[in-house]
C-alpha cells in the first residue's frame, strides 16, 4: 500500500498505515526525497505507529531516508515506534544510528520546531 505524504506547513508527514513491502518503501523514499525539494520543506516526519514489525530492510530504508533528506537540507524524525518493535530492533542491531526519533507525532513536531528555531538563531540544537 502506498504511503500518503501530507504537507503540513513547513513539514512533510508520512504516516505508515500498514505493513510495507520493499517496493512500498522504495516508493516512500523516492516520494519524500522528491517532495521535500518541491515543497521546500524544512522537516520530515515518518510515523510508524501502525507497524508491529520492522525488518532490516525497512530500518535501513528509514536510515537512508533520513540521510538523504539531510542532504536535501531538511531534518527527519521517525516517530511512534512500539516498545516491542523498538526492543526487537535493537536486539537485531538495527539502532538507526544518527537518526532522530520521537515518541509520537506531537513530539516529532515539537522536535522539528525546536531544531529549526535553533538553526534560524544560528546555533545548533541542544545536546
Amino acid at each position: 500500500m502506498e504511503v500518503p505524504i501530507l504537507k503540513q506547513g513547513p513539514y512533510l508527514i508520512a504516516s505508515v498505515q500498514s505493513a510495507l513491502t520493499d517496493a512500498d518503501l522504495l516508493q516512500l523514499r523516492d516520494g519524500l526525497v522528491e517532495k521535500v525539494g518541491r515543497f521546500r520543506s524544512r522537516g520530515v516526519i515518518v510515523d510508524v505507529t501502525a507497524l508491529d514489525v520492522m525488518d532490516s530492510f525497512a530500518s535501513r530504508m528509514l536510515r537512508d531516508i533520513a540521510h538523504m533528506i539531510r542532504l536535501r537540507g531538511a531534518e527527519t524524525v521517525i516517530v511512534g515506534f512500539q516498545p516491542e518493535v523498538a526492543f526487537a530492533m535493537v536486539q537485531l542491531g538495527l539502532t538507526l544510528e544518527g537518526v532522530a526519533t520521537a515518541l509520537d507525532l506531537e513530539e516529532g513536531l515539537a522536535f522539528l520546531d525546536q531544531k529549526i528555531k535553533g538553526n534560524e538563531r544560528g546555533q545548533g540544537p541542544r545536546g
Binding site: F81, V90, T95, A102
Partner: protein, 300 residues
C-alpha cells in the same frame, strides 16, 4: 528385579511375613533402647559438628521426634507420616540456615547408630544379624531418601516462593516530573528480570510520554556482560521511542568490570549519582530548580 533385592550370600529370599516379623523385632529393640540410642545419636551429631545453627536442647528435641518417626516408619512401612514430618521439620530449620548435607548427614548418622546397636545385639548370631539387616537396610534407606527428598523439595519450594516474591517486588517506573521517569534498580538482575525491566520501562515511556529516563543502579552489586549488554539495548530501544536515558550510580566495581569485559558503553549517558542524574535530566528538559528565596517574587 525382585530377586536382585535380596542380599547375596545370605539367607534364602525372605518372605514378606518373615521380614515383617523381623522388623517387628527390630522395632521392639529400638523402642527398648530409645533413651540410650537417642543420646548416642545426639552425641554423634554434636561430634560431627552438624546442626550448629541449633542449640543442644533443640538438637535433642528434634532428635527425639525424628527418632520416634523413624521407628514408626520402620514399623508401619508407610512413609506418609514421615514425609509430612520431614516437610514440617524442613520448614522450621531451613530459615535457620540448615544445609542439605547436614540433614542427610544426621539421617545417615541415625542409620549408622541403629545399625551399630543391631550389630552389638545380634553379633553372636551371624545368620540372624544378616536377616535383620536384610529387613532393616532397605527400610532405612527409604527413610533416608524420604527425609532428604522432603528437605530438598521444601527448600525448592522456599526458593520458588522467594523468586516469586522478588518478581512481584519488581522495579517500579516512577514519574518524578512531567516527562521525566526514574527507574531505581535494586538487587540482582537475572535475564528474566532484565527483560521485565526493559518491558516495563518501554511501556512506561509510552504511557507517561517521557522524554528523559534516569536509570539508577546504585543498588546493583554486580553486573555481568549479559546484563550490561541488555542495559545497552534498553538504552537504545528507549532512544527509538524518543527518550534519552541517563544511567547513574555505577559503583567502582561495576565500572571496572564493564571496562574489563569490554562492554561498549559509548552510547550511554552516565552520571555519578542519582542527584546528578536528575539535575542533568532537568537541564535536558529545560527545568531550573531555584530556591524560593531567590525567585524574587513571593509565592502566591
Amino acid at each position: 528385579m525382585k530377586g536382585a533385592g535380596s542380599k547375596p550370600g545370605g539367607s534364602p529370599v525372605a518372605t514378606s511375613e518373615s521380614t515383617t516379623a523381623l522388623l517387628r523385632e527390630l522395632v521392639a529393640h529400638l523402642r527398648q533402647n530409645r533413651t540410650g540410642l537417642r543420646e548416642e545419636w545426639a552425641r554423634r551429631i554434636t561430634e560431627a559438628k552438624l546442626l550448629t545453627a541449633m542449640t543442644k536442647d533443640e538438637v535433642f528435641a528434634e532428635a527425639t521426634s525424628v527418632y520416634d518417626n523413624y521407628v514408626e516408619a520402620l514399623e508401619t512401612g508407610t512413609f506418609e507420616a514421615l514425609q509430612a514430618y520431614a516437610r514440617n521439620l524442613s520448614e522450621r530449620i531451613i530459615p535457620r540456615g540448615v544445609q542439605t548435607d547436614e540433614v542427610v548427614g544426621i539421617v545417615l548418622l541415625l542409620r549408622d547408630v541403629l545399625a551399630r546397636s543391631l550389630f552389638s545385639r545380634y553379633h553372636a548370631d551371624f545368620d540372624k544379624l544378616n536377616r535383620i539387616l536384610d529387613a532393616y537396610e532397605p527400610a532405612a534407606n527409604r527413610i533416608a531418601i524420604t527425609v532428604a527428598v522432603g528437605f530438598v523439595q521444601e527448600r525448592e519450594r522456599t526458593i520458588r516462593e522467594q523468586q516469586e516474591a522478588i518478581r512481584e517486588l519488581s522495579t517500579p517506573v516512577l514519574q518524578v516530573r512531567e516527562r521525566l521517569l526514574i527507574l531505581p534498580i535494586i538487587g540482582v538482575i537475572d535475564p528474566q528480570r532484565a527483560r521485565q525491566l526493559t518491558e516495563q520501562l518501554l511501556r512506561g515511556i509510552r504511557t507517561n510520554r517521557a522524554r528523559v529516563v534516569v536509570i539508577d543502579i546504585t543498588g546493583v552489586a554486580a553486573m555481568d556482560s549479559n546484563v550490561a549488554n541488555h542495559l545497552v539495548l534498553t538504552v537504545e530501544a528507549s532512544r527509538l521511542l524518543g527518550a534519552t536515558v541517563i544511567v547513574t550510580g555505577l559503583s567502582p566495581e561495576i565500572a571496572q568490570t564493564l571496562v574489563n569485559i569490554g562492554v561498549d558503553l559509548g552510547k550511554m549517558n552516565t552520571v555519578g549519582d542519582l542527584q546528578g542524574g536528575i539535575e542533568e535530566a532537568e537541564h535536558l528538559l529545560g527545568y531550573k530548580v531555584v530556591p524560593v528565596s531567590e525567585t524574587g517574587t513571593p509565592a502566591p
